[in-house]
């Protein structure tokens, strides 16, 4: 059926256009997916460079390399670029490439809007990065841009930052609308909702989260814009407003946002572990329900980021218990991944290595999250390096390892060639060691009281910081190896069969590798 669909497609359609116009004018989900992924990796390197500046400054106590003002700009831009420029676009890129292939659709539901969603991102980041060269410097108030740091005390470039966020929001909302319309409307006959691959399910739920919270982010930056430029007093108590209002609205966006960055990784891992365990995913239905439960709970926990600002006691208790409740569906997921591997015939190719590391290290990040969720304990941990350790443990071996695992898993499908397994395993082990070296000591630093977002520190923190910096340099340099592996794989090598992984299942493995420019122009029949 699939081979038929493949050849059938060639009768009706031309291949890609040539030259730059292919990329500027394209409506093809594979082209757009590739552009998203390349953009995301570029931003990953840019944000990573900023992380290197941060870690170089923190290599030793005292001020060595940069001024505190510039250090603050680096932490802010690093966070913004990694969240909005690296992680989110990478998942949208994976969604673009894989969802139509996985559900047997000819393309995304709204192909032109899809192209617009992508091209808005370079536009937004051009504006965001240009603030580094503006008078007064780039935003320097942390990626959470709390008022009044960002309103009363922000640099003039804050207004540009706000509009950049608006453009990213427009891009994300349109991308999410496209995913939902595609999943709900473009499935091949017979592909019922409960037959959909987990990656499609998690993206459907992620898209819902995006549409629900990106407008709230747009709302909060609009309030900032008005406070800065038009004299409103949303975040100024002198006019009856409240800076804490900023935090409520921001985290109402911000907490679902962290699930936006992890749910698609959950989905990808749920594809990869069964493939390399040569077993079906354990508890598929429960995986779906757990994802839905996590998404719903994510709307009810935002104030756990704000325990120390003076939330009433009843609020603290509610948000503490609601947060701890998220451990239940997450536990279901981790249990199911482990149960999938249990008694499977495991092989440890690069995607599987990243997937296993994901399960273990993401769980560590989850556990430190539980510690932070306990309100009385959080008073101690708040705004220390423990928080930095926590969210880097969920984002680096969580989101980023999920992306690496997906990239290696589907690279043969994208390029038509197998990647270099030895180099990929080297990439994994260096990343694994580097990342743990960089972020694990931060737990100790935080528990000992080292505050985040400070360029200098007391002498007793020196050793752990040096270890952490060495790990960070190691992790950072290793990512150039990933670039090499991908370029090498795109240029040639061992030809990949339609289904390079013995245990993999799904429609995407039934089209040839590389996937033809147009696939499933006539929908396949799913039994």
């Amino acid at each position: 059926m699939s081979a038929v669909a493949g050849t059938h497609a060639q009768d009706h359609h031309h291949g890609p256009a040539s030259g730059i116009s292919r990329w500027l004018l394209t409506t093809n989900h594979k082209d757009i997916g590739s552009m998203y992924l390349i953009f995301s990796f570029t931003m990953f390197l840019l944000g990573g460079t900023m992380a290197m500046v941060i870690r170089a400054e923190l290599f030793q106590p005292g001020l060595q390399i940069v001024q505190p003002e510039f250090f603050n700009q680096m932490t802010t831009m690093h966070g913004l670029i990694m969240v909005f420029g690296a992680v989110m676009p990478a998942f949208v890129g994976l969604a673009n490439w894989m969802i139509p292939l996985m559900i047997g659709a000819p393309d995304m539901a709204l192909p032109r809007m899809n192209n617009w969603s992508f091209w808005l991102l370079p536009c937004a980041f051009l504006i965001l990065v240009s603030t580094l060269f503006m008078e007064g410097g780039a935003p320097n108030f942390g990626w959470t841009f709390y008022a009044p740091l960002s309103t009363t005390y922000g640099p003039p470039s804050t207004t540009f930052f706000i509009f950049a966020i608006h453009i990213m929001g427009v891009s994300s909302i349109m991308g999410a609308i496209n995913v939902i319309a595609t999943v709900l409307n473009m499935r091949a006959p017979g592909m019922t909702l409960m037959k959909m691959p987990m990656f499609v399910w998690t993206w459907l739920i992620t898209a819902f989260l995006l549409i629900a919270v990106m407008p709230v982010l747009a709302g909060v930056v609009t309030m900032m814009l008005m406070d800065i430029n038009f004299g409103t007093s949303f975040f100024n108590a002198a006019g009856g407003g409240d800076p804490v209002l900023f935090q409520h609205v921001f985290w109402f966006f911000g907490h679902p946002e962290v699930y936006i960055m992890i749910l698609p990784a959950f989905g990808a891992i749920s594809q990869i572990i069964p493939a390399f365990s040569r077993k079906r995913l354990f508890g598929y239905a429960f995986m779906v329900y757990a994802t839905g439960a996590i998404a719903l709970l994510s709307f009810l926990v935002w104030a756990h980021h704000m325990f120390t600002v003076g939330v009433p006691l009843a609020g603290q208790l509610f948000f503490m218990y609601a947060t701890l409740l998220i451990a239940v569906p997450t536990g279901v997921k981790v249990f199911n991944w482990v149960a999938t591997m249990f008694r499977g015939s495991l092989t440890l190719e690069a995607p599987m290595l990243f997937a296993i590391a994901f399960v273990i290290l993401f769980s560590i990040g989850g556990f430190s999250g539980l510690m932070l969720a306990i309100a009385p304990a959080d008073f101690q941990y708040h705004d220390t390096y423990f928080v930095v350790a926590h969210f880097h443990y969920v984002l680096v071996p969580g989101a980023i390892f999920g992306i690496f695992a997906s990239a290696y898993f589907w690279l043969p499908k994208w390029t038509g060639y197998m990647y270099d397994e030895t180099l990929a395993k080297t990439h994994f082990w260096l990343s694994f060691v580097g990342m743990n070296l960089a972020f694990f000591p931060m737990h100790f630093l935080g528990l000992a009281g080292m505050p985040r977002r400070i360029p200098d520190y007391a002498l007793q923190f020196a050793d752990f910081n040096m270890v952490s910096s060495i790990g960070a340099f190691m992790f950072g340099a290793t990512q150039l190896l990933f670039l090499l592996i991908v370029v090498k794989c795109a240029r040639g090598g061992v030809k990949a069969p339609a289904k390079p992984w013995e245990g993999a299942e799904g429609l995407e493995w039934e089209v040839p590798s590389p996937a033809p420019y147009h696939t499933f122009t006539t929908p396949p029949d799913v039994k």
Binding site: S21, R22, T27, W116, M223, F234, G241, G310
Partner: protein
């Protein structure tokens, strides 16, 4: 799969990249206007950039919608495509709902928490030490710091213009539904009459809204700068008014298209989407009327 109608995927399109350039230039211009004027610089260049972006956006909107209309009228779209548009429009409206939710949230937070706390209520009463003697009231007509934020003399009561506006918008929701029934019954004359009535109601609403703003600014000193009441009042009603303006433009475009003979009894999603949007704008107004004006 013999009965499968091909899903239309346009080969290439220049509109998305034009839209990107337009939006980017427009917003870069807007940001430059604000930053330049804050720093006391001339805003002439920034305005030029802004308007250049706006022009590109207008060109793009005509071009993009134009090509979609052309494709639709030449029968390229399958029923499946129609469903994609329906999902797209519904979720877009949902995103708009969430945008308003942020501002309603700000209003509720200010009323229920921030202002009473500033007035010394509850265990957060320490806020009252900032501006001792500040009395919490709603509508807030005495700001904590009247020097920085001169308070309004009074606010706009609900039973004058706002009530009339409520009646206008609710009526317009009925008239557009009558028009929708007319298009389904293929009764073009009735359709035009009721759509025109909807547009007329919308324009009168906008006129009264402008009137109300002038009254607020000139007579009541109720402005964006007059504290949290003015902030939430103008941001909520202002964004709503902006959406009414957009909706009215959409209605007018639908009227022009109907004059040109577009739409049939069973293919008129452009019209239907506009009516969805119009109902959304109406529902938001009901929320505004209750929570901003009445309560």
């Amino acid at each position: 799969m013999a009965d499968y109608q091909n899903y239309y995927v346009p080969e290439q399109s220049k509109w998305p990249i034009i839209a990107t350039v337009g939006l980017g230039v427009m917003l870069y211009g807007a940001a430059s206007i604000m930053v330049d004027s804050n720093q006391g610089d001339s805003t002439g260049n920034a305005w030029m950039i802004f308007w250049a972006g706006v022009l590109v956006m207008i060109y793009m909107l005509f071009g993009w919608f134009g090509s979609v209309i052309k494709e639709s009228r030449s029968g390229l779209y399958s029923p499946q495509m129609d469903r994609s548009f329906r999902w797209g429009m519904s979720w877009f409206i949902f995103s708009e709902v969430m945008f308003f939710a942020a501002f309603f949230g700000a209003l509720f937070y200010a009323r229920v928490f921030a202002v009473p706390w500033l007035g010394g209520e509850g265990d957060r009463g320490s806020s009252n030490m900032l501006w001792e003697g500040f009395q919490a009231t709603w509508p807030l007509i005495n700001n904590p710091d009247p020097e920085a934020y001169p308070a309004p003399e009074s606010v706009i009561g609900p039973w004058g213009l706002p009530l009339i506006n409520t009646i206008l918008l609710v009526t317009s929701s009925f008239t557009i539904t009558v028009a929708h029934h007319a298009i389904k019954a293929d009764n073009r004359k009735k359709l035009k009459i009721w759509l025109a009535a909807t547009i007329a109601l919308a324009l009168v609403f906008l006129f009264f809204q402008a009137e109300e703003y002038m009254h607020a600014y000139q007579d009541l000193n109720l402005t964006l700068q007059s504290g949290i009441y003015g902030s939430t009042f103008f941001m909520l009603t202002g964004f709503h008014g902006f959406h009414v303006m957009l909706g009215t433009l959409m209605l007018i475009i639908m009227f022009i298209r109907i004059q040109k003979g577009h739409f049939t009894a069973d293919s008129h999603f452009g019209f239907e989407a506009t009516s969805w949007y119009w109902h959304f704008v109406d529902v938001v107004w009901l929320g505004l009327f209750v929570f901003v004006y009445v309560i």
